[in-house]
Structures are given as C-alpha cells and as structure tokens.
Symmetry: C2
Subunit: 313 residues, 2 copies
C-alpha cells in the first residue's frame, strides 16, 4: 500500500491508547477539512487495552510504519521527542505536531503548526480542533477520543487530569452514548490482563529491598484500575509471598496491591513482625482480613509506606 | 522595579516591531484573563520603526531585561530558539511560547502551552487568542498588533504573508481607524531613515563582485519600503557610483534600488558598456532617465539581474 503521496499521521513508539485513537480521529478531521490525503499510522504494536477500544467502536487498526522516508510528510501526535519517533520520522518533513507533553528535542526546517497544550491527553486538544473546525465527531470517533482521555487520565483520577479533560470527556461520552465508569473498568481490565504472568512476575516487576538496623525487608507494588484483576493478583501474591523471604534473605516482605480507582492499597505481608509493623504504622484495625490489610488513602510506596515502616519494623 | 513575583512576557534579542507590539498586546490579554501579574519586557533596544509605532499609538516602551533569573516565570513571544532568548530566559521557568517560526532548540521541564502557527506574524496569532478569549482589543492595542503585521509582512507583500495575516490586518485596521497603505509608508520611512549614512555605507552594505570573460563588474543592492527614502538614496548613489570603478578595479558597476511596494528596481550604473548591458538584457526603453533605468518586476540580484548580465556584459 503506497503512502508516498499521502501525509502520515503517527503517534509515538510503544503506542498507548491516546497515541492510536488521537491519530485515527485527527486523520479523519484532516481528510474532512484539509487538501491532500492523510493516513492513520502507528509506530508499534497495539496494546490489549487499545485493542479493546478499537473493537468496542469497530475502528480499524492504523497502518504499521517502522521506517519513515526523509521526504515523507508526517504529522506527529502525542510526542515531540526524537527518541519517541518512529525511525526516521524526526528527519522527515514534519508538517504539524499536536501534543500535551513537555517541549522536547524535535526541530523543524520550516514554520509549522505546533500545538502543545498542558492538558491530560492529546485527544482533549484534538476534540477542541474538531470544534474549531465546526465538525462534530461521530459516535465512533467520539468513543475513540473518550477512550484516549479515560486511558491517559486513569478515568479522570490522575494528577495530570485537568478540568478541560473532564469537560471534554463528558461531552464525548454523551455523543458516544457511553457510561464512562462502567466502560473505563472494562477497558482497564482488558489492558491489565494477567494472562500468562506468574506470581513471581507480578511480585518482582516493581520490587525494592530496604534496611533498618540490620533488618532487611522487601516491598513490591502493582497498581490496578480493575478490582477483579487486583483480586486475581491478590490471590496469587498471597499464596506466593512466604517464598520470597528465603529467596531475598529478608525478615519481612510486603506487597502493595494499589487500587487507582479507590486510592487505597491492599497490603499482603509475610515474616515475623510484618503485621505488627503495619498495625503500628497505620490505623488498620477496621480493614484487616485473612488476605491482607487495607490501607485507605495510601498509594505511594516512597512517600507513604516506606517512611512509616522505617519507624516501625 | 521588582518583577520577581510577576511573569515576564518577552520577545527575542534585537527586537523587531512584532517582538515588541505582540508582547505588549499579549501582556494585556493575560492581565485581563489569567491569574497573576504579567509584565511586558524587551530583550534589547527599540528600533526607530518600532519607536514610531509606540509614539503613534501612545504605548509605553516595555521594560528592558538583560538577564533572566532561573526561577523567573517567562512567556516567550516570537521566538523559540535558545540563541535568540534574553540571557537566561531559556533556562528560566518557561510557561508559554507563542511563535510563528520553525520549531527550534528550546526545551522545557514541564508540559506548557506552545502555540506555533505558520503565519506571517506572531501578532496574527495573538489577535486570534483575543478572539478566543472573547476580548476585543482597544484602538491602541489593535494599532500595535496591526503595526506588527504590516512590519513582518512588508505591508502584506512578503512571501511569508498568509491570507490569515491579511484578514487579521484588515480587521485590526478597522478597529484602529488606520489607512494601512498610508500608515505603512510612514512606519517604514521611520525605520529606513538614512540618518548619518554616507553613500559609501549604502553602496557597500550589500555588494558583490562578479567576473565574466575577464570583465569584472560589481552589483550592490538596497531595498526600501519608502519611495522617499529610495529617492534620497538614489541621489546619493548617483553622485557616488563612478568612484567605485577605480576603487574596486571593475569595468562596470550597478546598483539596484529595490522598491518592495512596487516590486521593481531602479538601476544606477557606471562604466563603459554598463547601460548597453542593461538594455540588451531587459526591455528598458520606456523606463530610462538620467538617474537610472527602472526594471519592472525585477527584485532579485541572484535570480534575475546576475543571469541577465552574465549574458550581456
């Protein structure tokens, strides 16, 4: 399929849902409002979260582009760092950039449209551009743009989420006819599937060892949008955590199963004194059961859990 | 005057009219629509063209800033290259960039508003931002924005001028109550003053020597928006050009007095065969007088004059 005479619209490597959905939506807007032909492209494999979104709104997967020719016209979406570009895209004929990150290393030969706005998601900017062009996104496009916003802002809960993202998301949800909370859970579940992962994979994917007065203790963490996936991981970690003491030569082991929706962490623990250390550090009497202790409003290992345990272990 | 707690709004070094007027207008918009205090600043001396504009609309000269502290909040207008920043501004807390040039070397630590559009003047973008904010520029601000557009686009004649610049300029002229052609001539006259310049200064400011078959000939060029300044330079060059033959050891000398408004060049010449070379190369019979030959539609030394003279000298 020849794209030589078309303009490539493309997101960053390791594309997330914003980098795919904003590309599809912006390509559609350009094809409706600008001269020339624009083609939606991607710089890498589709994640399972994004695949769920494309299936939900019956959207086509953008074309995979691994190498961009120097004379190829390109529009960069959701990135403006050379290192994040599809190979060659930073040296191609960049004609536009739409992004919401810090200003990065890309330079151009000519004046171009570079629209970078400090919002939570590129799709929020693209939706504004639809409005400015007087084009109403259809149900499918609204669904894609909404999905990008929910994904980037963790269903409006991330610290990067702005009022504009929330307002834009609400408008798109109404066009797409989507209940955002319900849809977001399903989308994140699709993205968080534990398929094939072992308890060991989950436990050590983000794990650190600390020491206080010759007491070695380990803390792992995994964050989830989906409660059912968190529960699945909880069962696996509960069965596994005892093994890690000998393996890591630690006296205690802790694992934070953090719920982004609830802003809380379910603590799984092992080793002598581990439960007591948690009980001394936090008010946990109401929230403990045989599968761990629930710490409300605790989501940061570095800022919340480690300082408390350093006092109490 | 303390600016520590205010946000500096500043243009590039060697400020032109756009870099001063867009700064004043955008500072006013921010003070009307955003939290905090914003102060119009400049990174260098005001040109005589810009001084004419500030006088015409009774606007204050922005504050001179030669060094920007690292923790100072700044908004960059009309530039996004480190080399063009006021000293220190590229390492300060850049919170916004509004520009119409190629994407340059500035990087930021955080996501910011970077609005770069491929139009002829930053003031065209700032005027759009007034509209988006629902704020009508007053007569003075409209006059400043209009002046920036006329200056950057050479009264709508430069190749960088877009339809948006023309449309925006017309709207601003109507608010400011300004006849653009008349005003532009006065503004450019103020900027092109020959004060203190000698004929030698003008002749050699942009001068090159060429050779064809052992015939050496020199061509100088100066461009003018103002006919009266062009006429003044014409009288000086006409009296002077004969001297240059011995000085440069050339057989012929040519000087192009280019009128940007008319897209033509008045040719002053000296040396045996110079007039004939021009007459053979161009159809000049109708446009010659004792003070030179008028070449209509000839403005480029490189692309138009040199190729013709290479054939005919």
């Amino acid at each position: 399929m020849g794209i030589e005479n078309k303009t490539i619209v493309i997101g960053h490597k390791n594309p997330d849902t914003d980098s795919i959905c904003s590309v599809i939506a912006y390509t559609e807007l350009k094809n409706k409002t600008a001269d020339g032909e624009f083609v939606a492209c991607r710089a890498g494999e589709i994640s399972s979260e994004t695949q769920y979104v494309l299936d939900a709104f019956e959207a086509e997967v953008p074309e995979l582009v691994t190498e961009v020719a120097e004379d190829q016209a390109v529009i960069l979406i959701d990135h403006n760092e050379k290192t994040q570009c599809a190979d060659g895209a930073d040296d191609a004929q960049i004609i536009e950039i739409i992004d919401h990150h810090k200003i990065g290393s890309i330079e151009t030969k000519d004046p171009i449209l570079f629209r970078n706005e400090p919002v939570g998601c590129s799709a929020t900017i693209i939706t504004k551009m639809y409005k400015e062009a007087g084009v109403e996104p259809d149900k499918k496009t609204a669904g894609l743009l909404l999905s990008a916003i929910l994904s980037d802002t963790l269903n409006f809960r991330s610290p990067t989420c702005t009022d504009r993202d929330v307002e834009t998301g609400r408008e798109l949800a109404s066009i797409a006819g989507v209940d955002t909370d319900d849809y977001a859970v399903k989308m994140f579940e699709a993205g968080e599937k534990l398929d094939g992962k072992t308890a060991e994979d989950i436990f050590y994917s983000d794990f650190k060892i600390f020491e206080k007065d010759d007491i070695r203790f380990g803390i792992g963490q995994a964050s989830f949008m989906s409660q059912s996936t968190l529960d699945e991981a909880r069962a696996m970690i509960t069965d596994y955590i005892d093994e890690t003491l000998a393996k890591d030569n630690t006296k205690m082991a802790f694992f934070m199963l953090t719920s982004i929706q609830d802003q809380s962490s379910r603590m799984i623990y092992a080793g002598e004194g581990a439960r007591e250390a948690l009980e001394s550090g936090f008010d946990v009497t109401q929230n403990a059961d045989e599968e761990g202790i629930l710490l409300k409003d605790v989501v940061s290992r570095k800022k919340q859990l480690v300082p408390a345990l350093m006092e109490t272990v």
